[in-house]
């Protein structure tokens, strides 16, 4: 298969410097884009069918069209690369940040040009120390090489780019929480509408885009939308970084055509379950997606396919549940995370998730009661999309609601036995 996103990645993971990156074919999309009108760039991206890789899958080119452009548009406009990657079980952007920083910068220049942005921030989670170092170095190199700063390549287009290290909170990954974090505020989400494209960072038009999404842009510009669509095995264009973690033989991350099936990922790439363990289920796209089970193994990992199966492609990095791991314990672990990461803004989320965590802990510790399951179901409905302010809580209850559906007996066994069947003591 043709490598796209991982094309420039060296076996040792050390990124190419600007010069080497150029020699390997990098930065070609910049002069190409600068020769076009910004609208044309957007048009190409629209035609490519690129959809956001940050979890929601919104069509990228279309998102850009909401940004006011032209002489009357407010300035400065902003572009933010969302490199927060705090979704448990997700480890795809780290690879691109650490090993192909110039590819991200190149993609950002293209995106910034298309929306006529003046300033770009790379919002990286604070724990990604190596990524931050390498990004800072790469940005400095890009300035030196004339790809950033004033009047880029004599085009009249100017772009400043800065790396921002996060203070750490899952909510910083939510696009409007990210904007508040960049403004030095608590990362509570913002009201939409107005969308950030109209009033975003510092009240100005802003686009927030995932690292993987942005990293695709140079290639789309270089090879065209049709080529990009052709990379995929499904209706969603391009390739995708897919990951597998959990008790499989070879956990890992692979760039594969969009639409690769769960089975192929699990069995061929991850080498199947570890010896003696059986597959029970999988969170296909990170912690905030619904469980799928053995009946879904042939589901294609693209936006539509996973959705039809009752879950979401999310980040495309899956977490595998085996038969020696307690599903209640796993869900408890997840809800602990979400309850802790709730920003505390809206009631269903801050109250519902902490309540869910308490119930799950008590079930797991042998203090469950039959009515607990009803209460958990109540919380799932309570935190449903639309009921909460942002998508954190609805995402948070996805694994819970599906676990209650697929692993209900396991919950009941805990309550009946007043202890966790997976615990030996």
């Amino acid at each position: 298969m043709e490598k796209v996103l991982t094309r420039y990645i060296q076996p040792d993971g050390v990124p190419l410097d600007a010069r080497a990156y150029e020699q390997a074919g990098g930065y070609q999309s910049v002069p190409k884009a600068l020769k076009m009108a910004p609208k044309e760039v957007t048009e190409i991206v629209k035609q490519s069918n690129l959809r956001g890789r940050g979890g929601a899958g919104f069509p990228t080119g279309m998102k850009w069209t909401f940004v006011p452009t032209g002489p009357n548009a407010p300035h400065p406009k902003y572009l933010c690369a969302n490199a927060d990657e705090m979704e448990p079980g997700t480890f795809k952007d780290r690879l691109l940040l650490e090993s192909a920083p110039h590819q991200l910068i190149e993609g950002m220049i293209v995106a910034a040009y298309a929306i006529e942005a003046d300033v770009a921030y790379i919002f990286v989670r604070g724990e990604y120390v190596l990524a931050i170092e390498r990004l800072q170095k790469a940005v400095a190199e890009a300035y030196n090489a004339g790809y950033l700063g004033q009047n880029i390549l004599g085009s009249g287009f100017s772009l400043q780019m800065y790396v921002h290290a996060s203070g750490g909170r899952y909510m910083c990954g939510e696009e409007t929480g990210l904007l508040n974090a960049l403004e030095g505020k608590r990362a509570n989400p913002r009201t939409k509408p107005p969308f950030p494209q109209v009033s975003g960072l510092f009240g100005k038009p802003t686009i927030v885009q995932n690292v993987e999404t942005l990293s695709n842009l140079p290639h789309i510009l270089n090879h065209g939308p049709e080529w990009f669509k052709g990379l995929s095995k499904s209706e969603d264009a391009g390739t995708k970084l897919y990951g597998v973690s959990g008790k499989v033989k070879r956990p890992g991350l692979w760039e594969l055509p969009m639409g690769t099936t769960i089975r192929e990922l699990l069995e061929e790439h991850a080498g199947g379950m570890q010896e003696g363990l059986a597959f029970r289920g999988v969170l296909p796209g990170g912690a905030s997606t619904d469980f799928l089970t053995a009946q879904h193994l042939d589901v294609k990992m693209d936006f539509g396919g996973v959705q039809k199966a009752g879950s979401r492609l999310g980040t495309g990095t899956m977490i595998v549940l085996d038969d020696r791991t307690c599903p209640v314990g796993m869900v408890r672990n997840l809800e602990h995370f979400f309850a802790q990461e709730s920003c505390g803004w809206c009631t269903p989320c801050w109250s519902g998730l902490s309540w869910a965590e308490q119930i799950l802990t008590s079930i797991e510790e042998g203090r469950g009661r039959p009515e607990d399951l009803e209460e958990l179901e109540f919380i799932c409905k309570f935190c449903a999309p639309g009921n909460t302010f942002c998508a954190l809580a609805p995402g948070a209850v996805e694994p819970l609601q599906s676990a209650l559906k697929y692993f209900r007996e396991d919950f009941e066994r805990h309550i009946l036995a007043q202890h966790c069947p997976w615990r030996t003591h």
């Binding site: 913002r190 505390g344 009631t347 269903p348 801050w350 902490s354 309540w355 009921n387």
Partner: protein, 901 residues
Amino acid sequence: MTKIFVDGKAYEVKADQSLLQACLSLGLNLPYFCWHPALGSVGACRQCAVKQFRDEKDTRGRLVMSCMTPAADGTRISIEDAEAAAFRKGIIEGLMLNHPHDCPVCDEGGECHLQDMTVMTGHDYRRTRFPKRTFHNQYLGPLINHEMNRCIQCYRCVRYYREYAGGHDFDAFSSRSQVYFGRYQDGVLENEFAGNLVEICPTGVFTDKTLKRHYTRKWDLQFGPSVCVHCGLGCNISAGERYGTLRRIVNRYNGEVNGYFLCDRGRFGYEFVNSAERLKQPLQRQDGKLQPISKARALEALAGLLADPKKVIGIGSPRASLEANYALRALVGADRFYTGLSASAARLTAVALEMLRRGPARTPSLGEIERADAVLILGEDVTNVAPRMALALRQSVRQQPMRKADQLKIPRWLDHPVRELAQDQKGPLYIATPAATRLDDVATETYRAAPDKIARLGYAVAHALDAGAPDVAGLSEAERSLAARIAEALKSAERPLVVSGPSLNSEAILQAAANVARALSAAGRAPSLSLTAPECNTLGVTMIGGGSLADAFQAVKSGSADTVIILENDLYRRASARAVDEFFSSARHIVLLDSVTTPTVQKAELVLPAATFAESDGTLVSSEGRAQRFFEVYPPVGEIQSSWRWLRDIMMAAGRREAAAWQDLDAVVASVSDGIPALAAVAQAAPSASFRLAGAKIPREPHRYSGRTAMLANINVSEPKPPEDSDSSLAFSMEGVFAQPPASLIPFFWSPGWNSIQSVNKFQEEIAGPLRGGDPGVRLLEPSAAEPRAYFTPASEPTSGSAGEWLLVPLYHIFGSEELSRLAPGIAELSPQPYVALNPEDANALGVQEETSVTLSLESVSRTLPVKLMPGLARGLAGLPAGILPIEGSGLPAWSRISRA
């Protein structure tokens, strides 16, 4: 108007509001927490969820937050929908996971929005069985109590305190289910409007600490619709009493005046009513000491004093009602009545009044001030002089930035998007004062200078607006361009406002403000001019008319009078001790009517205990020119009675039969309105005592008022008859119908299911709009249509002292500068000690530091005070706290030498 459908019924509602606001305006019950009419919508609590349907055919619908959804034409929603109702019930369950359920010991109990909403949603059983989180509470000062465990994380407090009131020492800490609302460290809340947290908080986290010391449940309080007496703005208050003591003040909504908020002086200053300084009995000086005497003896003595009416003068008061002042005037005769204002205050108020009558500028209500879109403040430290106006001005600076939101079609009630779009953009607001003010943080530019220079800047602004306005010479380049910028900002605004007043005792400043207003009008704008008034009835007593205190002094000095009746006035606050002492020693008889002990009491021969606002009725004219009636909260005890009643009794004792007509308030009001043409409209300030609501009087007590038959059982086991109130249509009782009284007669806000103050929703024509039937009060001042007066001409030179002299200017303090509120312990605790303020660089030049004792020499007195360094003070000025130190010489500003003590 747009049409919306709620549960299948069509309603016409005002466009441009949220569904929540529309539903509440329709009188529908829809629970909410994070939304507040003054704060707008943020969608945090999710309590206001309703089902929205796409069209008639849509039967499934989806949940939306009514506070976040516009009431667009054709919107179809259901409040009753089972799923929506279940969700709302769930929200309460969520909110209450950590709530201590301590209603029986909570000060909010019985008037708690959380209780109301809990009942409204039907949540009644807490399913969770897990431990609740516990927080430490903070010390927030003498006025506000903190009990964080009751918090439901609705964010109202922090939004109000930081975003609305502009405070910086309060915030939300931590995250998830552990968000903590408080200060970084224990300490007094700095914001002057912190007390509103008590009403903003929908549960018992922030409660009134002064109430706590004499706690009574809302349902056990007897209320009176009243008007704040602690500054000239006339905020409407609802005062509550039990067992003969005043227990607390809460906001009484008036859409055009105070809206939803009060300042802390107004909310907590009431404790003077209960203070040990209260005068409770008639006193007569015997052997040099004041001794209690009976009312009869007092009147008898007075009749004797009044034997020769030609020798009697009356000194009225800007803190006494129109009725009391008028009664005194009737007693002594119009030509022997003095307003009780100092010479300079009298002159300035007269000038101000003339300006507002002549126009072209119109005196705006506080509501209009809030909507002003460009403001120039000349000489007033608004926060400390007319506090509630500062809160209004703080909102006014958002007017222009909000237009950006209009362009993007972001509704103004969508609070956060509007703020995010505007970012830190504020204004225009220009402030010219001698020292820094608490509004500087939202000012476009500030100008720090001596009063004369402030006036000159004003003249220059007027000239920049209209070349026909006289110019001033000798301005610096910087001052000139500042004046040009101010003129430009005012001129390009739709609703420009000039704020000024008498605080610096400068006629020039007032004239400059008038010139700016006049020039704006010449430039085709409709300007507003708001002039502060120092006391609650300064304007009223001035409208009654009469000489100043200096004239009264002269009358006694010249021998044309020897007997003085003083009404609710401490003359030592209005003239130098020397002048007042001289006055008192040359007068033969001094009679004083007052409610509290003051230095003047010590000079009186006869003292009559007057009722405070809480025990009397009357009318006050605010700085807006709005006459508003306040009503007794409870009958005065013992010998205390309203000043006008004392004056009537005196007249009767002196054989003046015409006073016999004054049997009740209406009769006095009628006399005022007949006697003073300018006050003809005051009778309309509130309905007369004959008004009946569905045939009955309006109860001052909630219908659950408890213990009426038992509360006085220690005195008498038989239930006493409730006192009669002949002065108003309010009853000292809980009996009466539940119906909405006229706006000026609402003792307290309550409605079935709405026990908290948020029940005001049920009393408004539309949410955040006027009370039904129109907001209380009647405006007495409208600019005349006649040709406006000519421009004032500035003095050619600013005044200057001789070498080595400092110009002493008064610096005002919300806590401390006002006479009555200082007697409230909580306010007293926050009042500053005497000081002399210097700019640090001036102090440096003088070789003094913070706390160094320095001596001021003024006229013939000298005074030693500690230095307070004040970086915002203009160079060459020295500031003295107003109302805290006795007045020196002929008052401030004054030139003085300063030397190390």
